[in-house]
């Protein structure tokens, strides 16, 4: 598997560190406990397209949001995490 980093071009997956589902959002500090349990522990874990964080540890140190099919490992898109959060 190779990931196309917006800054470093296409690099082997061994350069990246995985951080999981990129759709979970930290709740407000005063949110009910159930929202925090949901955020920390529960995941959709889909078989199919999945938005996920990868950190380019052995490259530019960018946090990336990769959209990837968990059934085939095909990568549809790669954006920087800041780009995604500003969108």
């Amino acid at each position: 598997m190779r990931i196309h980093c917006p800054y470093c071009c296409t690099r082997g997956v061994e350069e990246f560190t995985y951080r999981g589902d990129a759709t979970v959002r930290r709740p407000d500090l005063d949110a009910p406990e159930a929202a925090w349990v949901d955020y920390v522990y529960l995941r959709d874990n889909p078989a199919g397209p999945h938005a996920e964080y990868w950190y380019h540890a052995a490259g530019c140190h960018s946090w990336l949001v990769v959209r990837r099919d968990t059934r085939t490992h095909e990568i549809f898109s790669v954006q920087t995490a800041s780009e995604v959060s500003e969108a």
């Binding site: 598997m1 082997g12 997956v13 061994e14 995985y18 999981g20 589902d21 406990e33 159930a34 349990v37 949901d38 920390v40 522990y41 529960l42 995941r43 959709d44 874990n45 889909p46 078989a47 999945h50 996920e52 990837r68 968990t70 059934r71 085939t72 490992h73």
Partner: protein, 419 residues
Amino acid sequence: MSSDRYSFLSVLREALRGQTGWKPAWRKATPQDSYDVVIVGGGGHGLATAYYLARRYGIRRVAVVEKSWLGNGNIGRNTTIVRSNYLLAGNVPFYECSMKLWEGLEQDINYNAMVSQRGVLNLFHNDGQRNAYTRRGNAMRLHGVDAQLLDASAVRRKLPFLDFDNARFPIQGGLLQQRGGTVRHDAVAWGYARAADRLGVDIIENCEVTGMRITDGRVEGVETTRGFIGAKKVGLACAGNSSRVAALAGLRLPIESHVLQAFVTEGLKPFIDCVVTFGAGHFYISQSDKGGLVFGGDIDGYNSYAQRGNMPVVEDVCEGGMALMPRIGRIRLLRQWGGLMDMSMDGSPIIDRTPVDQLYLNAGWCYGGFKATPASGLCFAHLLARDEPHPVATAYRLDRFARGAVIDEKGMGAQPNLH
């Protein structure tokens, strides 16, 4: 007369009459309209659950539905290791229960599963690791589990060809559980299937669950590719795909699916007579009775349902192997494959009721499910039959995450790919 029970006499009798009296190990069952219990997932855990339901709890109107063929999932994709060398109180009694069931399994189910208590040796390479393994060994012995701390010379007598004087990771000793070892994994599926079938359990292959019928918060059966099957109780035992199946009932689980790779080499004369694990990387190896070296390492580390992994982990596993035993460097790989792991948020499994009435969950086995097969089946059967947890599985609750009562052997936190 057919040779239904396997024995020396049945082998002899069949030898004399041209092997004409053997029956299929299990029937090709067609689904009935309804059952007392439907188990989703015809892997080791599901089949063991069905067997213990029928055998120990007297519930025989049971179906096991499997989307593929029996044994195509993780029961046939693991590295066959069994052990009970755990540290935490929530885990040790459960895995020791499993170890004891392995010890009597073949007599119990009348099937040769090649249970081999050849020992599991975890090596350590520095003082900190020695302390950690001493603590683990003590925890095991306090729970009545066997454990022996070996020094470097004792390991050298056992496995003289390891790289003891490796410049970075010299071998200082190991923690040995002699009762651990290996079990022929396919035979576990076939043996449980045959034994459950003989007690009246229907094993329905090529039957994928596509939906759950739930009325007023209570499950009434499963929709499948072979039609609706009614059930008083439904048990999910489909680790690897637990999130997908639970989603059919509207549940979200504290689980990510990951891929774990395993490897077998060409056959060699016997030279590794136990299971060995490398303490300075993630690498474990044993030698099968056919002579192939069976080994593996870490999960790939990203969500996957692909049942195949990528090259960096292959490289990492092989580097671990070379650091431990350089003599395997020129052996050729014969097979390599991947299996899907339910990586839970604390690295420990779940055997519990769910928020849906009469729907039960057996999930989150991470990459330690094979060794747990008998106890998982027994405890899940207990839960399904009695509606209360088995005494050795009281900690495996689904709500433990919300309660902060996680069972985190590695102390990694809610990061599934690190467990």
